[in-house]
Symmetry: C4
Subunit: 269 residues, 4 copies
């Protein structure tokens, strides 16, 4: 198999034909394999038994990712723009921990960076029908962002005031040792997670906790309402949009029953 540089670039960066799909599949397996090694190596029993194998595999993946990264740097026409892009940095993070492991003693932080390799899957998945669906979700969340920020700010204000109240009412004996801890408990309660590591013991504390829970139960409707109404609007807009463009001025959004272009006044057949 002999490829020109242009053909190789096509395989590595685009993904419509067979060769590039095969390349993507290999990269996908490498990513999942390397992440699995990180996960399994963290289990102490497995680390004791297969620690050396994991170490060897880690180097194999690091070298393979290095070759891939070098390939991308060489093939791209805009080296600097690729290297500083989100994908370029994620690709670099995939190989750095391997080499840093030689110099750095604290391998803990490197473990997190290694887990970040999973982010690379996003590029490979950027295929076919998933793009439009992911864009739909992203678009709805972006359009709801301002509303959700207000909601989160309100939640944090409630959590601070309720947390301070509970800190004073329950005190350290019940586990509410400080306002930050009481706020942590407030978030645990308001979001209906409810670990149970800290629980109110006094009747007054239980009463206020009940109020927080009912509040949390009711206001979960707010983010849901925001995102759902946004998504409903979007998916309905899509239906209406079997519109066409004006043949004269190119204005889009012309509905089938329109007689004249609403932009340039052109008369339609």
């Amino acid at each position: 198999m002999n490829f020109s540089k242009k053909q190789l670039a096509h395989i590595v960066f685009e993904s419509n034909d067979r060769a590039s799909r095969t390349f993507d599949a290999v990269v996908l397996i490498m990513i999942l394999g390397s992440v699995s090694v990180v996960i399994l190596d963290s289990v102490s029993e497995l680390h004791l038994k297969f620690g050396n194998t994991f170490y060897f595999l880690e180097w194999v993946f690091t070298i393979l990712f290095t070759i891939e990264y070098a390939l991308r740097i060489w093939l791209t026409t805009k080296t600097f723009r690729y290297a500083t892009s989100f994908y370029g940095i994620v690709d670099l993070l995939a190989i750095l921990p391997g080499y840093l492991g030689i110099f750095v003693a604290n391998t803990h932080l490197l473990t997190v960076v290694r887990a970040l390799r999973l982010l690379r899957v996003i590029r490979v998945l950027k295929l076919g029908r998933y793009i439009s669906e992911a864009d739909f979700i992203k678009g709805a969340l972006k359009a709801s962002a301002a509303k959700i920020q207000i909601f989160l700010f309100s939640v944090l204000t409630i959590v601070l005031i309720m947390g301070t109240l509970m800190f004073i009412i329950e005190g350290p004996e019940a586990g509410f040792t400080s306002i930050p801890v009481a706020m942590y408990w407030g978030i645990v309660t308001l979001t209906t997670v409810g670990f149970g590591d800290i629980t109110p013991q006094t009747p007054l504390g239980q009463f206020i906790a009940s109020l927080i829970m009912l509040l949390g139960y009711a206001i979960i409707a707010v983010p849901t309402g925001i995102v759902t109404s946004e998504m409903s609007k979007r998916s309905q807009t899509k239906i209406i949009e079997n519109t066409r463009s004006c043949t004269f001025c190119g204005k889009d959004g012309i509905e089938p029953e329109d007689n004249y272009c609403k932009n340039c006044g052109e008369k339609f057949g």
Copy 2:
């Protein structure tokens, strides 16, 4: 009561007249009875007291289900297609554990297979008004499948990265013994289940846990939004799709029960 093979097939496989409805009712009672026996037999006090009765009843149900299965095999015109269909396999699974119990020592796995008998209820319930309602739910979920896959993949990426972080910050002392365990905790927290068997102890761990909880509380809006907007679209389309046009003036939006065209006054058949 003497039935021809064709009449019997009608009773066993279809369900519009009285005889087949009676047959379905008997099968339904058998299914619920046999599943109840499995459930009650698992309670050790009841097993000690009524173990023999349960064993006897299990054989009764196995024989009854065997007769039913034989009947279906005999009556169907497409034996192979039935035997390899979803319902055919579920029907076979209903009788296998009884006979396998003679040969197999590990009766634990058989218990699960026995519980699968409940799936047989689906066939019996495939009646009347429930079909269209179930199809409505299934349809909405199928149409949302791609979006939900993306959502679940995003959730797993978050869980992996957050789990790795918590494994490093909290460590084995707080119960985060490995990345898989930390990911399990991450799912427990993100889904707002919050068992409380593993909880963060350090301020930094509690801070990151708070972020995960708020995230989980906010992104529950996403699947809800996806399914709701899909269902809203469907239930609105249904209403609109039920109308026809006037045969005289072409006015649309005529509802089935209208006697006259609301636009031109034309009388309908």
Copy 3:
């Protein structure tokens, strides 16, 4: 104050003028008072201190409710229909426990019946703007009933199969002592309640628990979607319904732009 029987009946059963609103307010205070006594009497410290006062108050409320019940029986024109109606039975349940307490030793069950007095509040609240709002919620839930039944049946099937699996995988050591207990745990987990009294200990158990949690997190979208799409449809229908009735045949739902009645063909101005 001298009232005729008809005037009294008006005060007791209807509620548009001042006198009947005063009557309703008195009954509301009696209900809340008697329920508060039941609640406070259950706190052992308060029972020790104020037990006699509570006992006395209980008798006061019983006698007052008896007078009210007698009044209703006497005033209603359809005594039997009232006595067997939902409200009639709730009214009777409000006075029975007091008298039964003399004969019955087990006062525990009577406590529950006493708490049922709160249901009487519903009648009193059946006023003003709340009726249409409550009807809106009830209507949406009724229309969603078939879909929610299917949903609950699916949830129970999942809980049975997952519960059986967890009972076999985790066993009695982790608290999964029987299939019913494992199903209880399954419901606790699927509904994201997560008490944490029973938690999986083995890696396989934790993996299956994670699946149940993600499932529960995702399928909460289903009832929400059902109810929301139903409510959206209803609240939108309301807007459209600024329609009028045909002046000839009385058919309602005539839209402003209709030229002819869609029922009788009458021509509109």
Copy 4:
């Protein structure tokens, strides 16, 4: 920098130019700083180390807030109306605890009042695009208020009856020491928080708990449905309401940016 009283009032109360935005930014930093001091001072280790610094900072913030409050009182044209308004009271609460701390021994209550300073952030955030978004959320919640009140009342009725039942079934051994405690447990369970500090131990108790959980899981759909359908209606109405009719042929649904009538081709100004 010399400002007239009018210019100062403009800077303090309005916020369109640079000077007033700088003033708002300074106030925002002061608020967040003073709240941070309250939070950090509650952590006993930090209190031991930096207690004096926190005490000093508290006085700095109190004096700065006092100057700001005096400025507002002096600058406003309607002194009484400002002093009794929501913002006026919050501004006063921001300075009171500092001075009260000299006379009052119980500094606990003052801590809560100090945390209330965060409410002052609302005024500063009352800027730009957030206003309309916050109004959207507030509007939707206000319109849903009656429905949510009915919902909360139903939840409390369920909690009272279920709590009484569980108090009788489980009793004090399982932690259900009184009806109020059992109601607290009922709210913890119905809202899917699930602390796990109190859990049912008997099969019957676990069965009823399962019912409560399934109920809670299903009825969370109600507030979500109410708020979502309200928000959907609002965000759709917004779109529709932005259009006008053609002045020539009367065709409606003309969007503001259209140059020609899409029905008759009439040119718009």
